[in-house]
Each structure stands twice: as C-alpha cells, then as structure tokens.
C-alpha cells in the first residue's frame, strides 16, 4: 500500500452562494506534519470539517488511506482522530470516564479500553487529572483532554484545529513536542495562526486565504523566502541611491523604517564588503549593516496579499 494517508481532491464548499473553500487539493504522506495557515475566516476549519466527514463537500472528495470518506464514512472515520476548534467535552464526566467513552466509540475493544486510556493520559500529561471532572479543569487541561480524545484509538491521521489555543507557554511547548512525536508514526494536520509554531513542528505548510490555497510546500521553502537576499543598512549621511546601485551585485535600494536602507542583491553575490569599503571611503557614516530577515509574518502577509491584488 502507498504511504499516502490523506488525499484531498478539489475540495469545494459553498455557503449560500459564497465559496468558503474552493478547489483545495493536497496529499499527505505517512509520518508528515502538515500545517494549515491562514487568517481568520480563511476556510481552515471548514476544510478540516470536510476532511473529517463532519461536513459534506459541495464538490470534490477526500480519501483517507485510500478509503473514500463519502462512500465509506465509517471505515474512513475510524482512521481519523479529530480535535475541533472547541474541544468536544462532556463536562459531567471525569477524565477517565470521558476517555473510556471516546475509546469505545472509536471501536477500541473492551479489554484494551483501559490500556488505551492510560496511554493517552500519559502522552498528554493528564495522569494526575484522572478522577477530576472535566468541568473543573482549566482551559489548558481541557484542551489536553481534547487532544487525548483525538489520539486514543491510535489513528493513522490526527487532525488538530488550533491545538495550542488557550495554553500557557510551558503547556504549548509540551503540546508541540507531543505533535512532533505524533508525526513520527501518524500523519498530523494542524491549523494555527501562530506562525513560529508552524516553523517548529511542521514539515509541510499550506497557506489558505479566502478559501484558496495560496502556498503549498516544504517548511524549508518558506524559511528561504524568509531570509532572502537582502541587507539592511544604517547610514549617517546616506548618498543618492544611484551611488549604491553602482556597487557590484546590488539590484535594488529602497528606504526602510527608521532611516534604514534595504538593499537587494543577486543570489550568492553578497555586496556587504564592497558596501562597507565604499561607505568608509565616501564618508557615508556606516552605523549598521546586517542581513534583513523578513519575519514569517511578513512572508505570510505577502503571500496572502499577493493573492488579493
């Protein structure tokens, strides 16, 4: 069998004439972590609902490990663990009771239920909360119960919708470690709008904007976009831009914030030394020079903005 676990083809969802998600296609392989990025209302949750069979697509289809979600929903759903935006918790149950219900509903056989519950609790750091009512847990712990519920039956595909919302920094770190660990044996799809998170845990990134996929690729591609071929210059007596453009390798000069200049150069042809020399000999008053790292936020804004323009 191939290693493709999730196969979404031309997923489209129309809400009252408006396309919430249009023509989203992607494949996910076993052991990969896919990050879904997008501004609010971009269609991340809608896409996830369609993948998990909670929402019927207006067009297109989903296959989980080769099983069609529309034709064989039961078999396909058995392979998925899903944490929706708001964790679906029965507040009147204790953690143990709730996880046991989750395990049974996901088809874990009677004798293994206890073991599955123990394992899920251990992985999500819930062991001390076993006998507590879910109602009385803090938001962060409730979120963990939600994640435990999604991985209890050891599914092939784990789908987490904004898993780190409402957690404190230490818990966020734990959960990220857990997601990385899950990525080893399962496929994970997670949505978020916290960008560093994507950089830390994901192998692949998809940016979705206004229901359309605007970027899809490895995390390294995104990182490269981030570093770019740019230098940031701080000069006390800046010369005319032409003087800078005359330097070998420089292709563009533009003004940046706080009186700085942004200099773009050709790939692999760093003009840093030449600029320093020119600055010294011409008395430009160089006070800073450093590579210009666009933040991931900027890349994100660029990508989503390009599409809009």
């Amino acid at each position: 069998m191939s290693t493709v676990t999730v196969e979404a083809s031309n997923l489209t969802r129309i809400y009252g004439g408006r396309e919430a998600v249009s023509d989203v296609s992607f494949n996910l392989n076993k052991g990969e972590v896919l990050g879904f990025l997008g501004p609010n209302g971009a269609g991340k949750s809608t896409t996830m609902k369609m993948i998990t069979g909670n929402l019927a697509p207006s067009a297109g289809g989903v296959k989980i490990c080769g099983i069609d979600m529309i034709e064989n929903p039961k078999e396909a759903k058995a392979l998925i663990g899903y944490l929706p935006e708001s964790p679906p918790l029965y507040r009147e149950f204790t953690v143990d009771e709730y996880l046991a219900v989750a395990a049974r509903l996901h088809g874990v056989k009677g004798a293994h239920v206890k073991k599955a519950v123990e394992r899920a609790k251990e992985r999500c750091g819930l062991t001390e909360m076993s006998k507590r009512l879910i109602e009385n847990l803090s938001k962060g712990y409730q979120q963990r119960v939600g994640i435990a519920q999604a991985i209890i039956h050891n599914p092939m595909v784990v789908i987490l919708d904004e898993p780190t919302v409402g957690l404190d920094p230490i818990q966020i770190r734990d959960i990220r470690a857990l997601i990385k660990e899950l990525g080893g044996e399962h496929s994970v799809i997670l949505s978020t709008h916290i960008l560093p998170e994507v950089e830390i845990v994901c192998d692949h990134v998809q940016i979705i904007h206004k229901g359309k996929l605007v970027f899809s690729g490895g995390i390294d591609v995104l990182k490269q976009q981030r570093t770019g071929n740019k230098l940031l210059l701080g000069l006390a007596n800046p010369p005319a831009h032409e003087a800078l453009l005359a330097i070998d390798g420089v292709v563009a000069v533009e003004a940046a914030n706080e009186g700085l200049l942004r200099v773009r150069f050709n790939e692999g042809q760093s003009p840093a030394e030449a600029i320093v020399q020119a600055a010294v000999s011409n008395g430009w008053g160089l006070r800073q020079i450093n590579p210009d790292q666009t933040s991931l936020e900027d890349v994100f804004v660029q990508l989503t903005y390009q599409e809009a323009a």
């Binding site: 909670n54 759903k77 049974r104 519920q149």
Partner: protein, 248 residues
C-alpha cells in the same frame, strides 16, 4: 456500536443528580398513588354490595397508578429528552459523535434507546409495585402486562417526539417547552373533537390509542400506531441531523 451510545447516555444521566432525582420523585409519586389506590379499594368495595359493582383490585389500583403514570410522563419525558441533542449542539459535542465511526442512524437510535431504557427502569418499578399485591391476593397479570406495554409504547412515543424537537434547536429549554406543548396537544386532541367520534384528527390522539391498553385490550391497530409514530419522528431526527452535515 449502538450499545456504546446507549451506555454513554445512561452514564451521563446518572453522573449528574438529574437521573437519580427524577427516578426518586417519580417513584415517590407512583408509590403514593399505589398506596392511596390500595387504601381506597377497601373503602369503596365495602360500600359496593352488589356483585356487578365490584371490580378486581388489579383493575382498581392499576387504573389509578397507570392513569397517573401516563400523565406524569407527559412532564417527565420532555424534561429528560430536551437535552439529548440540543445540549450537545450547544456544547459543540456533536462533532465528537459525528467524527466517530458511527452512522447518524446509530447515533439517533442510541440516544433514543438510551432514554427509553432509562424510562423502562421507572416502568419496571411500577410493574413490580403493582405485582407485589400478588403476595396477598391473586393479581390479573394479563391486565398488568397490557398496561405496562401500553405505557412503554406511550413513553417511547413521547421520547421519539422529544428527541426530534431537541434536534431542531440548540436551547434545551425551548426544546422542553415545545415538546411538552406538542405532547399535551396530541394527548388531549380527542377531547376537543369529542363531538365527532369519526374525526380523523381525533384518531391521531395518543390518548385514544393508549386507552385500549389501559383497559387490558391489545389491539394491533394501536400497536401499529405507536410504532409508526416512533419511526416517523426518529426518521425526521436522522434527516435533520443529516441536513447539518450537508448544509453546515
């Protein structure tokens, strides 16, 4: 799989005081009526000199207990059924059930059977209470059986309507009130149309179909009515939830 949902529903009823309180209160009410029934039997029958005036103790007490049971259930069932789906909708836990490898039919049937099995506990208690008279006298078990069956079908019909109304809204209280009004209207429908015994509307009344059971008469016609009533509302519920998935 259906069994797992039934189990979950019963667990959620008994994990809050709700289930226990309802059971206790219902048992208290039925116990009181049972006691009054037995008490009054001797008073009434000592005054009834002629043989044709006399009725058996099963019919006398049974009428009082099962009569009040059908009335009390009118309040109890909406109270229990209102949460079934609307609460899950409100807490957004329906996703939990829909993401599990279950069909919507299984979810609905599980929820329905969960509630019915809870209510069956009440009915079993009533049956046991009335049958306990067998210790001192001879009891007409056929009469009890037909009453229990009638009450059970009536309660199951209440539940089916309740679960459907519950699937329409995300406010349990709204579901409870609508269910109660709808059931009440269905029960007393034949009172409004008492003047016209052939009226089709009156034929739809739940009470009219419960009444033969309470006289000890098992009629397939009434049996079919209840079964159709239950199937209709469960199907509507399934369709309603399926529409959620399709329309979002």
């Amino acid at each position: 799989m259906i069994f797992n949902i039934i189990r979950k529903e019963l667990k959620s009823l008994f994990s809050s005081p709700m289930g226990w309180v309802v059971l206790a209160l219902l048992q208290f009410v039925f116990g009181t009526f049972f006691l009054i029934g037995v008490d009054q039997y001797f008073q009434t029958m000592s005054g009834a000199m002629r043989p044709e005036q006399r009725i058996g103790i099963t019919a006398f007490v049974g009428q009082s207990v099962f009569g009040i049971a059908s009335f009390v259930m009118l309040f109890a069932v909406p109270l229990l059924s209102m949460r079934l789906i609307s609460e899950e909708r409100r807490q957004q836990t329906l996703t939990f059930l829909f993401s599990a490898p279950l069909s919507i039919t299984e979810v609905v049937l599980g929820k329905f059977l969960g509630l019915v099995s809870f209510l069956s506990i009440v009915i079993v208690f009533i049956a046991a209470m009335v049958s306990s008279m067998n210790l001192w006298t001879e009891v007409d078990f056929g009469y009890i059986f037909s009453n229990v069956l009638g009450l059970w079908l009536l309660v199951a019909s209440f539940s089916a309507l309740g679960i459907y109304v519950s699937s329409l809204t995300s406010q349990p209280v709204v579901a409870g009130i609508i269910t109660f009004i709808a059931l009440f209207a269905l029960l007393i429908l034949d009172h409004f149309l008492a003047g016209d015994p052939t009226s089709t509307m009156a034929y739809l009344s739940l009470m009219r179909h419960f009444e033969p059971f309470s006289r000890g008469l098992l009629d397939t016609k009434d049996f079919a009515y209840f079964i159709l009533f239950i199937i209709t509302f469960l199907t509507l519920t399934i369709r309603r939830l399926d529409a959620d998935r399709l329309r979002g």
